[in-house]
Amino acid sequence: MSTEQFGVTDHIEVAVADEVPDTADGNGADGGRSASTGTGVAEHRRGPIALATRRLLRNPLALVALGFLFAVIVVGVLAPLIAPYDPNEQLTGPPFLGPFSDGHLLGTDDLGRDIFSRILYGARLSILVSTATVAIALIIAVPIGLSAGYHGGRIEYGIMRVTDAMMSFPGLVLAISLVAVLGPSLKNTMIAIAVVLIPGFTRLVRGQALAIREESFIEASKSIGSPTKRIIFRRVFPNLLSPLVVQVSIALGIVLLAEASLSFLGLGARPPEISWGAMLRQASEVILVHPGQMYAPGLAIALTVLAFNTLGDGILDALTGGSGARGRRGRRRGLTFVERKMAPETSVAAPVDDAVSNLEPAPIERHESEAAPSPMTMVTLERNGEAARAAAELPPTDALLAVDGLTVQFSTARGWATVVDNVSFQIRKGETLGLVGESGSGKTVTSLSVMRLLPSPPSRITAGSVRFDGRDLLTLPIREMTKLRGSRIAMVFQDPMSSLNPALTIQHQIGQVVRWHDGGGKKHAATRANEVLEMVGIPKRRATSYPHELSGGQRQRAMIAMALVCRPSLLIADEPTTALDVTIQAQVLELMHELRKELEMAILFVTHDLGVVADICDRVAVMYAGQIVETAPVRELFHHPKHPYTEGLLRAMPQKAEPRSELYVIPGQVPQFHEFGTGCRLAPRCEYAQDRCRTTPIRLERVDPVHLARCIRWDELDLEAKI
């Protein structure tokens, strides 16, 4: 926020109502979002104003500004009592005394008047002029803005066009011209500055009134027959206050600057009125001989304006819960932090347990003897991972990607939340693994962790390994990581509209991948881009389109083309079809089918849609509340589920529903991270749950060599009946 135009900013988004602590800024990670509720709820009960006040009082900068302004007001009011001299008394000492002279703290001016006394009286005038001018502007602008925003229609249109035109005047030029014809005087200066402020205030008030008009409680008031006037003053006005307070604080600074400018030009305050701007005018006349004259008044103006601006910023921060930049401190760009020396805090099962490969697993007993101690170090963990693989006697070349005991945490208002807990899975060359679960289950976080694309902060990887082609990606420096990304491992994101850069053509964006990895000129990159675009069915003439010029399906195809242009061996697709309608979905899936065969790539397919899984996947891993709860080949999982959650997901598939029957819904919601108990995380929603489910940690158990389930009752339940 700043004194941008000689006026006021149009929109301020004050989100008091849906306050979110800025610790975890989600960033598309479905875990982060749910992690960030929490304290907000508790703070709400105290009311938004009390909350904002408390935040403001915790902001040292804003407090200093507030204190300074308070001092300026006190000094202004008490000037006659505390000023050592009459400010207009001449020859209180020799003229042009320097600062810190005897009896004259800031020296004397050309007429031998005491500068310190004049500064004190100047404070009086500055505060008076600023508050009065802003008050005049508000008295006129608020009713106009309210009626424009509240009534809409032609009145609004007319008012908005006039304010637009008024704002095309350079503010100071308008003020000066007005004072010029009205005649130079302090009163006319105030009127002129108020006129300049009015359009900005009007727009702000109108914007807020417009937003509030659409809210339901106003509708409700109207429907119970409250008169318009009463609605405006009882309902709309209170909501307007907070953004207005911010702008008023900044406008006070603007007025102070403008008054100083006009007085400096000799159009505002004139003797015997004492204004800091007018003092600077006198100082400027003798600058070549007595340059010291201008320090005090200039500093007084600058500090007061600075205080108004700082206070305005502070109030805005307090109302919105902090500026966007805060809380991103020390962000390491483009690479998730790995701090594997920590043990996962909420980890329940012993990590080695889950590190077991589910392809050719070794007997479980063998690993229980080596249960990892806590806290474990990075080295221990590495060895555990190696041990697990050795025990599985799996040729290392067989698994292209081996995720072992991956644990990811997010910083929240309640401390570190474990969003992905000890997740292990493997993908072979050419194989497609589906990662399934409701939103909030941690599947997106898992998929982003593989490429270390989660932003740090708020996220960090605290345990596990991600082996790709035998190398642990979690130990790679960013330079090595960027070599793999886009060329060996590629990713397709959920929402192609926001995931493509709106300012660049798709050809350029695809060509970048070629240029970054294979080098070669722009021409070569463009040719390659056109080739892959053709491969995904986008004709050459569309290659130079911008994302907004393409349809949703075309955008997702372009996204896929971008991922495939360097022929990666692993493709991570995060809900690639979710944002698309059904026919386009089918086309995209068909495309992925073909390309997988052609390029022999492995795919990690993240989705909540089991129908899609049945179409494209070889194996499935089901995630719930940050853990893998079941994993099996796709047919096995669909026909013989061993976990109640999988059963629920299968029952909830719309494809399976009988016509006219009610669609099954799993009762309840995915729990928040702080709600996890020691036992089964599904227990509160599970119809088969028993007491022992809630108290004992549940391990991933082996149903058969290729099928694991995290349920202690898997062998006694018959889950096939209901699907």
């Binding site: 004072v179 400096f264 600058i287």
Partner: protein, 315 residues
């Protein structure tokens, strides 16, 4: 692109009509009978008053007065100066190049320095260098430009004697002398605009760096440099460019005072002289010129914005 320019030009016409009407209406604010006041008050010679009444068409209905004035204005005829009796336009014309030169010199400083500072602070929010830039920009916004000018003069001209304290030399006569005399005015005028532009770019970068398409750029294997230069900068610059347009209005206002301090014979100096002499036709002409210059600079900014944002170009 040409479509964009044509549309923007067309949109300017009603705006300029309205603004010119406001400028012309200034006459209604003149206290008392305009002709009498402008002639120098009630002591003025009756013949002078009538001459002014005749010259400014004050006997006509208001809208007719406006139409006549506007008709002249579009042809460069703003009437005659009440003081010198010479055509206003001939005198105003000479005041345009110094002002445009000052604004241009200021923008030449604002754009690279503002963007550079924004980049320095925006790439590492919360770092020491970010905080230093923020402190600097807070000061830049709070300090009145004329105080900065006085500080510069007292230091570089009075104490160090590196630069002449004031004066003006036309660019066409001697570019180096022009530059010497423009350095201090341009720095004084640019401080707050630099601050605003850099803060806007910082905010833009902070927003853009969390955008999904930046994650895509990382996923494509971009290095930090490639992601920022290839993806973040262009999008982060958009709000900074918008703000630059708004800042030209502030610059034009500030230039009036800066011209006064450095005795640059530009529009501001001309305007203040006209004000002192109650020369209404001149005041109107200069006010309108300021608006036209502001609108023109904003048109250029809009076109630059079109280069950054393909959606604007197409829409």
């Amino acid at each position: 692109m040409i479509g964009l320019v044509v549309r923007r030009l067309a949109a300017m016409i009603p705006l300029l009509l309205f603004v010119s009407f406001v400028v012309f209406s200034l006459i209604t604010l003149v206290p008392g009978d305009p002709a009498t006041t402008l002639a120098g008050g009630t002591d003025a010679d009756f013949a002078d008053i009538e001459a002014i009444r005749e010259e400014m068409n004050l006997n006509d209905p208001f809208l007719v007065q406006y139409a006549k004035w506007l008709g002249g204005a579009v042809q460069g005829d703003f009437g005659e100066s009440l003081l010198s009796g010479r055509p206003v336009y001939g005198e105003v014309k000479r005041a345009i190049p110094p002002t445009l030169g000052l604004v241009a010199a200021t923008l030449i400083l604002v754009i690279p320095v503002g963007l550079l500072l924004g980049l320095i602070s925006g790439l590492r929010p919360g770092s020491v260098r970010d905080k230093s830039v923020l402190t600097f920009t807070s000061a830049g916004i709070a300090m009145p430009s004329f105080w900065v000018a006085l500080l510069l003069v007292s230091f570089f001209a009075v104490r160090l004697k590196w630069l002449p304290p004031f004066g003006y030399e036309p660019f066409v006569d001697s570019p180096t002398e022009w530059a010497k005399r423009m350095i201090m005015p341009a720095i004084a005028l640019s401080a707050s605009a630099i601050a605003v532009v850099s803060r806007q770019l910082r905010g833009g970068l902070a927003d853009v760096m969390t955008a999904p398409y930046i994650r895509t750029a990382w996923a494509k294997g971009g290095s930090g440099h490639q992601v920022i230069a290839g993806h973040a900068l262009k999008n982060a610059a958009m709000p900074a460019v918008t703000v630059l347009g708004l800042q030209t209005a502030v610059l034009l206002g500030g230039s009036i005072i800066i011209e006064q301090i450095f005795t640059i014979p530009g529009l501001g100096t001309y305007l203040l002289r006209a004000i002192n002499q109650q020369d209404l036709p001149s005041i109107q002409a200069v006010a309108l010129l300021y608006v036209v210059i502001n609108v023109m600079i904003n048109l250029i900014v809009d076109i630059a914005y079109g280069f950054l944002n393909p959606k604007v170009r197409a829409a």
